[in-house]
Amino acid sequence: MVKPIFKLFAFALLLLSGLARAAEAEPVRFALIDPLTGPMSVVGQPALAQLQFTAERLNKEGGMNGHDIQIVGYDNKINPQESLVQLQKAIDDGIRFIIQGNGSSVGSALLSAVNKHNQRNPGDRVLYLNYAAIEPSFTNERCSFWHFRFDSHVDMKMNMLTDWIAGNQDFKKVFLINQDYSFGHTVSESARNMLKKKRPDIEVVGNTFHPLGKVKDFSPYISKIKSSGADVVITGNWGQDINLLIKSAAEYGVDVPFLTYYGSTPGTITQVGDKGVDRVYLIAEYHGDFTDPEIAERQVNLYKEKGWDYYPRVAAMLEMMKKAGDQAGSIDPLAVAKALEGLEYDAAAGHLTMRAEDHQLQMPLYLSVLKDNMKYGAEGTNYNFHQVARFDADQAALPTTCRMRRPG
């Protein structure tokens, strides 16, 4: 006789707690549309882990304008068409903040889809928060009020890489090796233009393109680099193309700096390991020294909890979203977007500003090099990137051609 009553009581309690929750503010939900399954999930899962990790902390601090932050993952298999299906699913689920980063083709599809959605549904706006698609046009000729980029684009990063090369008088010969597709060509062109302007005496001794993701043996390319006598190599390679390139360089004793965009893609450090030490340089928003003890603690905790390394700019993006929501006093996308314009934020890496003109985040950049026996290793190893140079946000800034249409 006791049991049914007990059950009823438990049920009532459950119901009441449900009601109490409903009385609280509705959560504000963010959709992460990125590869979450399959071989490319190594670039999507860390972002998901970071977002959930940061959301948990921010929710303890009151969430975004009093609303709990929830992260929902949508798997796009890094395919632009599939991303649009997932975008529609997210919008249907009532999500108004879309986060994406990997692949400029996906970014391009989402950018135009979000623009069209907002144009066709004026009462129901969606924001696109981009943390890694660094095609320059997104904040130049294709800039949009509904798109915010929380990473420096290709040209800004190249601007700093070439500054660093130009500042070192020992460098006389530069070698460019890139994947043979649009991004690789952008990197190469950008490098040549900037070097010509900054240091006309530097000679570009090689400008090679290799097939994307198909080269198994980089030794012919490495011997080309070696025989060219290059002092420094610039590459936009990612995935296995960077791993194999670095390994091959180590085997042939090519001991020049390899300036990379994606030397820290998950898996690279584990695979390259010792061969990358003092060879792989990285231009990014932070470094692996973790001089800020608070961030260092988070790095340790995140790795313990989820098995991924700290993703500074993804964390900063969510923190900025919270700040914008708090400032706007609302979680309405339009109000949040207006608050984001010109928003300033102090992150571990330095002072960040979301430039209102083109919605391109202005942030300091760091050049770092892979070292062994670091205090905070990446991917559970002892390797991580040690700071070589820091560039202020002003120095990294580039003018924009953006002429933005703003909603009334």
């Binding site: 632009p80 068409q81 699913k89 083709s105 095609e135 043979d180």
Partner: protein, 413 residues
Amino acid sequence: MSKRFSSWRLGMPWVAVLMVLLLIPVVVASNGTFSIINVIAIHIVFALSYNMLLGQGGMLSFGHAVFFGLGAYAAIHVMNLIGDASYEGHGLWAHFPVFLLPLIGFFAGALAATVVGWPFSRRAGTAFAMITLGLGELVAAGSQMFPSVFGGEAGVFSNRMVGPIWFGLELAQPAQVYGFMAFWTFVAALAMWAFTRTPLGRMSNAVRDNPDRLQFIGYQQRNIRFLVFIAAGGFGGLAGGMAAVNYEIVTPESLGLLTSGLALLMAAVGGLGVFYGPVVGAVLVTLMNSLLSDYTDASVLYVGVVFLLVVMFAPSGVAGGFEQVRLAWRRGDLGVRLPGWLSSALAVVLYSSGLVATVELIYQISHGKDKLARSLGFEADPASPLVWLVIAALLAAGYGVSKAGKRYREVNA
């Protein structure tokens, strides 16, 4: 009398399809559902066009995405032309409705197939497969080198809300795009079905089954393959044109090997030997691709396993299974055969639930619980031996059922 009866029999399924297409907007309301249905529609046409090659013509192609992609690129460039022309207010393209863009895709696909098809059609089999693989890689690699045509990594994007409006379809929301999709899917499927009933369609079956004999009775197998290749390329391009309107963006991925593989996967899972097989396959594979990953991190594995199982144990595909049941029913021996089929179906269910439970448990150990486990109320603890016992029992039950049902299945053999 019998002639009229047979034409009624032929027409009936199409009337039923039309009814379903008309009923969908009554039942479905959300834009998300419509956008998945629209993708299914594109994939249906794409898979059917692929089956013209493989199922009907016996040509295993790994490069069918080339025609899909080129059709899509042609359509999206024309869409941009329509946009520019209607902005200026004059010009030929200002009068061309977006509704007819799949036709542009059709001509582009057929043209591409005509240009490259002649040398390909000399042989079927491995040689054909290798050549189409090469073509696919060639075009996919080439597309990255001509950014002015293919838009580089970011692709070519456009806006479908331009030009004259037909049938009141403004094409703003996925629900309106559905009208467009339903029309073209119906027209394309009907046309491809009609093609199978033309003399050429029949000859393509013959060239699949016995090319030498065909040669003896005076047909050039190469000519027939070439014509089928062109038709398949055209319908592949038509699907590409539908995709261009649906996504409003075309990227070089759509020309690549993955897209070609998708066509093969859909056609094979659905069934190569039955006309509506690829339709079933397109529905299943699209749903698996778009929805399964919401529930489980192992979705890619499951899709792969399904493909593997179909190829190994049900080479005639899902629709082939339907067709067997239907034929047995018409012959009147369904009662004899059903126990065998049901017992193997039960065995498959038991085996696969054992397998799914194992996979989910292993995932749980390495990554924590995913949504499938949670939504099934999967409260199992991988450390407890009881759970593994249950899995072992499931697998054993599957084995037992398949053993016990053997007697019934022998009737079917």
